[in-house]
Symmetry: C2
Subunit: 337 residues, 2 copies
DNA sequence: CACCTAGATGAAACCGATTGCATTTCTTCT
DNA sequence: AGAAGAAATGCAATCGGTTTCATCTAGGTG
């Protein structure tokens, strides 16, 4: 079998407990003993069993990542790799590994979280997005398990979260269009199940209101977070309305929106201006290059991991949420009216 | 504390071992006992501790993913999310979770693998790419640990791997340019440390040779796998040569190559044709839309996970490697000469 | 009726660590 | 010199399961 702590102990003529203390660099062990044990470990090629260690110490040095929808789907929107990139930077710095559960739907997602938490497989969890109907957040909160949510939850009471100011961001986008003379502005988002969609819809409405433009229900559509989703939503709008501009809360969807506009015989941006969200790498290269709200996806990842780890290290953290700033990136998909 | 198997045992009036067997649905336990135990589990809200289970059974139901370079860097090339997408589909289907180690360099990468293997944290490992100087592959092989490599290793003896036919793919790309009348064809790849770069360079040379075009060392450049890397490599070439076409082994790099060409006053594709590799989502939207070799990144992920899990389930698998087909996607970045 | 066998369950060792408490050996102080 | 305290280390319980082997019961057989 493999070399265990007992083998090392035997070789170094000490008790297993002493070896354990040497590994932890416990100051109560004398220099000489430590050296002897280190030598034995070296000679035997000993490496501690992380599983056994976790079982005894109840610490895994692992962070759980929960993707929304299916893991498969998540990876196809550049948003998620980018936030994972941020998370991985911090995780690496703080010596945490990442456990990805691979769920396929909301039911399995719950299952996955329970498995992680009850199965004691991770020290904390990052939820990569919050649904309004999320049972996970109340469950985790009641369970007293450390977690942070990317995206402000509907009920943010005693939960840690990281997000942009989505209402402000949507206002920013909408105002930009209004300032350019648009008044028939459509709004396309992902499902209103997601808090982020709700917030951005609110921001959109607010901007309209502040500028004395009545909100028209027919100009707002939702569909899934994909190119096709954007296409379908835009098609539905164009069948009944003639917007001169549209706010799309996801760049990938925005590509579908552009495609739909073109299919219907409109020119972008000449006939219809489009502003997106997320500033994914693709956006700069799109045709036309997409004007978009940069939500600092990478920082969302960084901050969420930092917040979680801070929470893990001390019981209480002073701030329970972090707002990551956004900025408007002006390119070529919007023109003045 | 949490409810454990002992609590369930007590409540159901059986021994812990019986509960364990019920969990495993062991046929040697009578229907009645099973029902009684299930009821107890239900009532107590019992959930097995995955860590303890792993320790005893030496099975984790987890696959380890090792990224090349830093995890951070990997996530910024769309290739990796896409292969992970493939992996996650299979992992989900087969009920495996994914453990990502977050290493920053080659040294840490080795450390990460040792930690996963010796720490018994995963059942198998997928290496997301193979370096020529990789110590990992011989180490894992000697250790007898199940793993599969994406990218044919230099020494493929008794290692499982999944890859495209990279020589053939590069020939395909180069021949395509030759057929369009190009003879001054440059070749830009990532570091020759990667087997994939080496293979593609060979394919490029082969195509030249078969068409009686002499290989010019000055037309081949390497740099890092990024937009900037492509830019720098192309700049170096343009300072001494005047290619009419270039084969770039990565679409992201190809964008840099295009930028360099434009900065030097060339038009793409009119003055210089460019063919890329990978067919990342961005490529279709680039300006000009990129002609590229589609290497079926998603399938690379699928196949590697399937191969690993097959290996995990039976000791030996009939095939030790899988070749994923490629195809040329013709868009607008190449013109006839 | 004694014996054997199959089926159901339990007892206890084990997986490989960590940790609270006990023990031993020195110092040091009065 | 004896007691007290500090320093170094060991013992054994524990974490929460799995698994081997033994035990017990009941039914079948000659």
């Amino acid at each position: 079998m493999n070399v265990t702590i007992k083998d090392v102990a035997k070789k170094a003529n000490v008790a297993p407990s002493t070896v354990s203390r040497v590994i932890a660099d416990n100051p109560r062990i004398s220099k000489e003993t430590k050296e002897r044990v280190w030598k034995a470990m070296e000679e035997l090629g000993y490496y501690p069993n992380a599983i056994a260690r976790s079982l005894a110490s109840k610490v895994t040095n692992t962070l759980g990542l929960i993707m929304p929808r299916s893991t498969e789907e998540a990876f196809s929107n550049p948003f998620f790799p980018e936030v994972m990139r941020g998370i991985s930077v911090v995780a690496h710095r703080e010596k945490y590994d990442l456990l990805l559960s691979t769920s396929g739907n909301q039911e399995e997602e719950k299952e996955a979280v329970i498995n992680m938490v009850k199965g004691k497989r991770v020290d904390g969890i990052i939820l990569l997005s919050s649904r309004t109907t999320d049972e996970l957040i109340p469950w985790l909160r009641d369970e007293g398990f450390p977690f942070v949510v990317i995206g402000k939850p509907l009920d943010a009471k005693s939960v840690y979260w990281v997000d942009n100011d989505n209402i402000g961001a949507a206002k920013l986008a909408t105002n930009y269009l209004i300032k350019h003379g648009h008044r028939e502005i459509a709004f396309i988002s992902g499902s209103l199940e997601y808090v982020v969609s709700l917030d951005r819809l609110d921001g959109y409405k607010l901007a309209l209101e502040e500028n004395g433009i009545p909100f028209k229900r027919e100009l707002a559509e939702q569909d899934e977070f994909s190119e096709d989703g954007g296409y379908r939503a835009m098609m539905r709008i164009l069948e009944r309305e003639e917007p001169t501009a549209v706010v799309v809360t996801d760049d990938v969807m925005a590509f579908g929106v552009i495609r739909a506009a073109i299919d219907k015989g409109y020119k972008v941006p000449d006939d219809i201006s489009i502003i997106g969200f997320n500033n994914i790498p693709l956006s700069a290269f799109a045709n036309p290059p997409l004007t978009t709200i940069d939500i600092s996806t990478f920082d969302l990842g960084i901050k969420s991991a930092e917040l979680l780890i801070a929470r893990l290290k001390q019981k209480e953290v002073d701030t329970d949420h972090i707002i990551v700033p956004v900025k408007l990136v002006e390119r070529k998909s919007c023109v003045a009216r």
